[in-house]
Subunit: 197 residues, 2 copies
DNA sequence: ACCACCATGTAACAAGTTACATGATTAA
DNA sequence: TTAATCATGTAACTTGTTACATGGTGGT
């Protein structure tokens, strides 16, 4: 017991990742594998965490699935959200939101960076800049696809695309800020190659 | 066994938080309680995680402590890093850096925001903006304290303050970007009070 | 030949959170 | 009087990661 307890005391306790999966399914039907890939930019999770959660959501009847046979690839379960799942999302959105948490080893290393030598520091920041530039390329590509919709319906908060659109704007703005920071730090460290694309 | 294994196979496995604590101690002597408070902006951790790690670091002789008696407050252990601890930091900095991870429930809610109503959405983003503005106030204050050093020695990467300085610049830049994003979203949602300080 | 991708799942472990425990001081 | 801050620690729990398990297809 303890799990699907709708008996008494309100809704069953789901963790944030479980709601994230419901959020994905609110737009399209997806396999567990696809959900794992799509949730990465917002919440890092491995398949080993997702599959048991989907089983739990299914027990709660927040999701349903059909098995699709594929000849070339393994069979897959395509999940769809139920009306009860949609209701659960609405309750969740209105509930207080947890503070964001970020864990970045680079920041800890940066704090005591003077213990290191300049070439090591430069390498560290150049590598991180690479990572941010790759991310920017990805987000730019996604934003480009959204902007193909000439009606600009994504600007309306009632639109299906609105959520994705404002998330992309945030992701792009933050990643730009981070790239600029990397370039600025590299210049301070005396890296003459800093600032070039 | 298994823990302080310097016997064979390289350095003992410490997690990122443990190195973060060493990073803090590389600048000043601190109690476990103070470390818990100081590490928050870079890595969220509760005291229940920190105290056992400090005991482990002490077994490895990367840190040492003295007990300070206080009349008004409880006694405390003031930790200091050892030479072996400094060496461990240097090895850690040169090693590959893990990719940053962030987990923000607001982003998941944002993805399926159209399932909610405008007042709920506006409340959500106004609350988040508040949080970012409070953070900005804190970082601005810290940056102001740093800038009291008129010699601007913090601009040199050999300076004791350099690490803190560049971290603050990043924190301020990112928080500004986030505030702008909140204001922009609130305007799109039709919130007329958006954009006022 | 080996690795990556697709696709699902479980088991073992590490990391992180909440709760239990104690106890004084100070501000609302 | 209720809560917050200082200060340390452990126990129980949840969350997240790595490893084990299986197996076909396609690229280098």
């Amino acid at each position: 017991m303890r799990d699907g307890n709708t008996e008494r005391g309100g809704p069953p306790e789901l963790n944030t990742l479980a709601y994230g999966l419901l959020a994905l399914l609110s737009k399209e039907r997806l396999s567990g594998y696809d959900m794992m890939l799509r949730i990465q930019p917002f919440w890092q999770a491995k398949h080993s965490q997702i599959y048991p959660l989907l089983a739990k959501l299914e027990r709660l009847e927040y999701v349903r699935y059909n098995v699709y046979r594929q000849d070339d690839k393994p069979d897959k379960k395509i999940y769809a959200i139920t009306d009860a799942g949609i209701d659960a999302i609405r309750v969740w959105i209105a509930a207080p939101t947890a503070e964001p948490a970020s864990r970045d080893e680079l920041l800890l290393k940066t704090y005591c960076i003077r213990l290191s030598d300049a070439p090591t520091m430069i390498r560290m920041f150049a590598e991180r800049e690479r990572l941010y530039r790759d991310k920017r390329a990805l987000y730019d590509k996604m934003a480009g696809e959204l902007r193909e919709d000439k009606s600009e319906s994504y600007l309306a908060h009632t639109s299906d695309q609105f959520g994705k659109f404002i998330l992309l704007q945030k992701a792009i703005a933050v990643v730009r800020t981070n790239i600029e920071w990397c370039v600025w730090v590299r210049k301070l460290l005396g890296d003459e190659t800093a600032g070039e694309t």
